[in-house]
Protein backbone atom coordinates (compact mmCIF):
# COMPACT_ATOMS: atom_id res chain seq x y z
CA UNK A 1 0.00 0.00 0.00
CA UNK A 2 2.81 2.42 0.74
CA UNK A 3 4.33 2.64 -2.75
CA UNK A 4 0.91 3.04 -4.27
CA UNK A 5 0.23 3.67 -7.93
CA UNK A 6 -3.51 3.68 -7.31
CA UNK A 7 -3.20 7.13 -5.81
CA UNK A 8 -3.32 8.71 -9.24
CA UNK A 9 -6.82 7.24 -9.75
CA UNK A 10 -8.42 6.86 -6.34
CA UNK A 11 -8.81 8.66 -3.07
CA UNK A 12 -7.98 6.79 0.13
CA UNK A 13 -11.69 6.40 0.82
CA UNK A 14 -12.21 4.65 -2.49
CA UNK A 15 -9.21 2.42 -1.79
CA UNK A 16 -10.75 1.46 1.58
CA UNK A 17 -14.04 0.60 -0.07
CA UNK A 18 -12.31 -1.51 -2.73
CA UNK A 19 -10.48 -3.61 -0.13
CA UNK A 20 -13.58 -3.83 2.05
CA UNK A 21 -15.74 -5.18 -0.77
CA UNK A 22 -12.92 -7.58 -1.72
CA UNK A 23 -13.04 -8.91 1.83
CA UNK A 24 -16.81 -9.30 1.72
CA UNK A 25 -16.57 -11.25 -1.53
CA UNK A 26 -14.14 -13.71 0.09
CA UNK A 27 -16.30 -14.74 3.02
CA UNK A 28 -17.98 -18.12 3.14
CA UNK A 29 -21.62 -18.43 2.12
CA UNK A 30 -23.40 -17.79 5.41
CA UNK A 31 -21.38 -14.71 6.32
CA UNK A 32 -21.42 -13.31 2.83
CA UNK A 33 -25.17 -12.81 2.70
CA UNK A 34 -25.14 -10.50 5.70
CA UNK A 35 -21.98 -8.78 4.54
CA UNK A 36 -23.16 -7.99 1.02
CA UNK A 37 -25.96 -5.88 2.42
CA UNK A 38 -23.36 -3.67 4.09
CA UNK A 39 -21.73 -2.96 0.77
CA UNK A 40 -24.80 -1.69 -1.06
CA UNK A 41 -25.58 1.98 -1.28
CA UNK A 42 -28.74 3.40 -2.76
CA UNK A 43 -29.27 6.92 -4.01
CA UNK A 44 -32.58 8.60 -4.65
CA UNK A 45 -32.74 12.26 -5.67
CA UNK A 46 -35.32 14.90 -6.39
CA UNK A 47 -35.09 18.37 -7.90
CA UNK A 48 -36.81 21.22 -6.08
CA UNK A 49 -38.07 24.40 -7.77
CA UNK A 50 -40.39 27.10 -6.43
CA UNK A 51 -40.90 25.25 -3.17
CA UNK A 52 -42.12 22.08 -4.90
CA UNK A 53 -40.38 18.83 -5.20
CA UNK A 54 -40.11 17.23 -8.57
CA UNK A 55 -40.04 13.58 -9.53
CA UNK A 56 -38.04 11.33 -7.22
CA UNK A 57 -35.48 9.47 -9.28
CA UNK A 58 -33.79 6.33 -8.05
CA UNK A 59 -30.24 5.96 -9.30
CA UNK A 60 -29.50 2.37 -10.32
CA UNK A 61 -32.83 0.92 -9.21
CA UNK A 62 -32.68 -2.55 -7.66
CA UNK A 63 -33.90 -5.48 -9.75
CA UNK A 64 -36.54 -6.66 -7.25
CA UNK A 65 -40.05 -5.19 -7.28
CA UNK A 66 -39.91 -1.90 -5.36
CA UNK A 67 -42.25 -1.30 -2.46
CA UNK A 68 -45.00 1.31 -3.03
CA UNK A 69 -43.67 4.55 -1.57
CA UNK A 70 -44.74 8.20 -1.52
Amino acid sequence: MSAATWRQFFSFNKYSQITASALRRSLNETERLAAEKRGTTNVRYQNWANGEGGQQVVLNPPAETPKASA
Binding site: M1, S2, L23
Partner: protein, 164 residues
Protein backbone atom coordinates in the same frame (compact mmCIF):
# COMPACT_ATOMS: atom_id res chain seq x y z
CA UNK B 1 25.35 33.97 53.83
CA UNK B 2 21.70 34.51 52.99
CA UNK B 3 22.34 32.97 49.56
CA UNK B 4 23.65 29.82 51.24
CA UNK B 5 20.58 29.65 53.49
CA UNK B 6 18.33 30.06 50.44
CA UNK B 7 20.21 27.27 48.70
CA UNK B 8 19.95 24.85 51.63
CA UNK B 9 16.25 25.57 52.16
CA UNK B 10 15.69 24.97 48.47
CA UNK B 11 17.52 21.65 48.77
CA UNK B 12 15.28 20.63 51.67
CA UNK B 13 12.20 21.42 49.61
CA UNK B 14 13.10 19.14 46.66
CA UNK B 15 11.96 15.52 47.07
CA UNK B 16 14.64 13.07 48.14
CA UNK B 17 13.89 10.64 45.30
CA UNK B 18 11.91 11.35 42.15
CA UNK B 19 9.54 8.40 41.62
CA UNK B 20 10.35 6.61 38.35
CA UNK B 21 7.75 4.72 36.29
CA UNK B 22 8.41 1.02 36.89
CA UNK B 23 9.36 -0.47 33.54
CA UNK B 24 10.75 -3.90 32.85
CA UNK B 25 11.12 -5.85 29.65
CA UNK B 26 9.46 -9.20 30.28
CA UNK B 27 6.58 -8.19 32.51
CA UNK B 28 3.03 -8.70 31.29
CA UNK B 29 1.29 -7.09 34.22
CA UNK B 30 0.54 -3.92 32.24
CA UNK B 31 -2.28 -4.02 29.78
CA UNK B 32 -3.34 -1.66 27.05
CA UNK B 33 -6.95 -0.71 26.43
CA UNK B 34 -7.95 -1.86 22.99
CA UNK B 35 -10.93 -0.69 20.97
CA UNK B 36 -11.20 -2.62 17.73
CA UNK B 37 -14.16 -1.15 15.89
CA UNK B 38 -15.79 -1.52 12.51
CA UNK B 39 -18.57 0.74 11.24
CA UNK B 40 -21.14 -1.98 11.88
CA UNK B 41 -19.66 -3.77 14.89
CA UNK B 42 -17.40 -3.11 17.87
CA UNK B 43 -15.25 -6.18 18.36
CA UNK B 44 -13.46 -4.76 21.41
CA UNK B 45 -14.51 -1.69 23.39
CA UNK B 46 -11.82 -0.51 25.82
CA UNK B 47 -10.83 -4.06 26.68
CA UNK B 48 -7.63 -4.72 28.61
CA UNK B 49 -5.28 -6.74 26.46
CA UNK B 50 -1.65 -7.64 26.77
CA UNK B 51 -0.43 -7.26 23.20
CA UNK B 52 -1.81 -6.42 19.79
CA UNK B 53 0.04 -7.34 16.60
CA UNK B 54 -0.92 -5.30 13.57
CA UNK B 55 0.07 -5.20 9.93
CA UNK B 56 0.97 -1.56 9.44
CA UNK B 57 1.74 -0.17 6.01
CA UNK B 58 5.33 0.41 7.12
CA UNK B 59 5.70 -3.12 8.50
CA UNK B 60 4.36 -5.50 11.10
CA UNK B 61 4.39 -4.24 14.65
CA UNK B 62 3.42 -5.41 18.12
CA UNK B 63 1.89 -2.92 20.51
CA UNK B 64 2.28 -3.36 24.25
CA UNK B 65 1.14 -1.25 27.18
CA UNK B 66 2.41 2.33 27.32
CA UNK B 67 3.38 2.37 23.67
CA UNK B 68 4.51 5.71 22.27
CA UNK B 69 1.56 7.54 20.69
CA UNK B 70 1.46 6.90 16.98
CA UNK B 71 -0.89 6.68 14.03
CA UNK B 72 -0.36 3.81 11.64
CA UNK B 73 -2.29 3.08 8.47
CA UNK B 74 -2.98 -0.63 8.20
CA UNK B 75 -2.49 -2.70 5.09
CA UNK B 76 -4.85 -5.63 4.43
CA UNK B 77 -3.59 -8.13 6.96
CA UNK B 78 -4.01 -9.79 10.31
CA UNK B 79 -4.67 -8.09 13.60
CA UNK B 80 -3.77 -10.48 16.42
CA UNK B 81 -4.99 -9.78 19.94
CA UNK B 82 -3.30 -11.45 22.92
CA UNK B 83 -5.55 -10.90 25.90
CA UNK B 84 -3.75 -12.88 28.57
CA UNK B 85 -1.47 -15.88 28.62
CA UNK B 86 -0.76 -17.41 25.25
CA UNK B 87 -4.25 -17.46 23.76
CA UNK B 88 -4.55 -15.12 20.80
CA UNK B 89 -7.35 -14.26 18.44
CA UNK B 90 -6.85 -13.19 14.87
CA UNK B 91 -8.90 -11.11 12.49
CA UNK B 92 -8.14 -10.28 8.90
CA UNK B 93 -8.82 -6.57 8.36
CA UNK B 94 -9.31 -4.94 5.00
CA UNK B 95 -7.43 -1.83 6.04
CA UNK B 96 -7.86 1.16 8.31
CA UNK B 97 -5.90 2.90 11.01
CA UNK B 98 -4.34 1.98 14.34
CA UNK B 99 -3.97 4.89 16.72
CA UNK B 100 -2.09 4.66 20.01
CA UNK B 101 -3.25 7.44 22.30
CA UNK B 102 -1.12 9.02 25.01
CA UNK B 103 -3.18 7.50 27.84
CA UNK B 104 -2.37 3.86 27.07
CA UNK B 105 -5.25 3.34 24.70
CA UNK B 106 -5.20 1.73 21.29
CA UNK B 107 -7.94 2.29 18.77
CA UNK B 108 -8.06 0.25 15.60
CA UNK B 109 -10.56 1.43 13.03
CA UNK B 110 -11.20 -0.87 10.12
CA UNK B 111 -13.85 -0.91 7.44
CA UNK B 112 -14.21 -4.69 7.38
CA UNK B 113 -12.71 -7.47 9.42
CA UNK B 114 -13.49 -11.12 9.93
CA UNK B 115 -11.92 -14.04 11.79
CA UNK B 116 -9.86 -16.32 9.58
CA UNK B 117 -12.42 -19.15 9.84
CA UNK B 118 -15.03 -17.01 8.13
CA UNK B 119 -13.28 -17.05 4.77
CA UNK B 120 -13.73 -19.52 1.97
CA UNK B 121 -10.52 -20.63 0.25
CA UNK B 122 -12.49 -21.39 -2.88
CA UNK B 123 -13.90 -17.87 -3.08
CA UNK B 124 -10.46 -16.39 -2.53
CA UNK B 125 -8.99 -18.50 -5.32
CA UNK B 126 -11.75 -17.49 -7.73
CA UNK B 127 -11.42 -13.83 -6.87
CA UNK B 128 -7.65 -13.98 -7.19
CA UNK B 129 -7.89 -15.48 -10.67
CA UNK B 130 -10.40 -12.84 -11.67
CA UNK B 131 -8.18 -10.02 -10.42
CA UNK B 132 -5.18 -11.49 -12.27
CA UNK B 133 -7.23 -11.70 -15.45
CA UNK B 134 -8.25 -8.04 -15.27
CA UNK B 135 -4.72 -6.88 -14.45
CA UNK B 136 -3.36 -8.62 -17.51
CA UNK B 137 -6.31 -7.71 -19.72
CA UNK B 138 -6.99 -4.59 -21.72
CA UNK B 139 -9.33 -2.54 -19.60
CA UNK B 140 -8.72 1.07 -18.64
CA UNK B 141 -5.79 1.97 -16.39
CA UNK B 142 -8.27 2.69 -13.63
CA UNK B 143 -9.83 -0.77 -13.85
CA UNK B 144 -6.38 -2.29 -13.80
CA UNK B 145 -5.41 -0.21 -10.77
CA UNK B 146 -8.50 -1.44 -8.98
CA UNK B 147 -7.71 -5.01 -9.94
CA UNK B 148 -4.15 -4.55 -8.70
CA UNK B 149 -5.41 -3.39 -5.32
CA UNK B 150 -7.65 -6.44 -5.14
CA UNK B 151 -4.80 -8.68 -6.26
CA UNK B 152 -2.62 -7.49 -3.38
CA UNK B 153 -5.54 -7.98 -1.07
CA UNK B 154 -6.35 -11.52 -2.17
CA UNK B 155 -2.72 -12.58 -2.05
CA UNK B 156 -2.43 -11.31 1.51
CA UNK B 157 -5.70 -12.99 2.45
CA UNK B 158 -4.76 -16.27 0.83
CA UNK B 159 -1.45 -16.30 2.66
CA UNK B 160 -3.12 -15.47 5.97
CA UNK B 161 -5.78 -18.16 5.65
CA UNK B 162 -3.30 -20.78 4.47
CA UNK B 163 -0.81 -20.23 7.27
CA UNK B 164 -3.24 -19.79 10.14
Amino acid sequence: MSALRLLSSAARRTPKSIPLGRRGYAEVADKIKLSLVLPHQAIFTSADVTQVNIAAATGDMGILANHVPSIEPLRPGIVEVIESGNASKKWFVSGGFATVHPNNKLTINAVEAAPLEAFSAEAIRTNLAEAQRITAGNGTEEQKAEARIELEFYEALQHAVATK
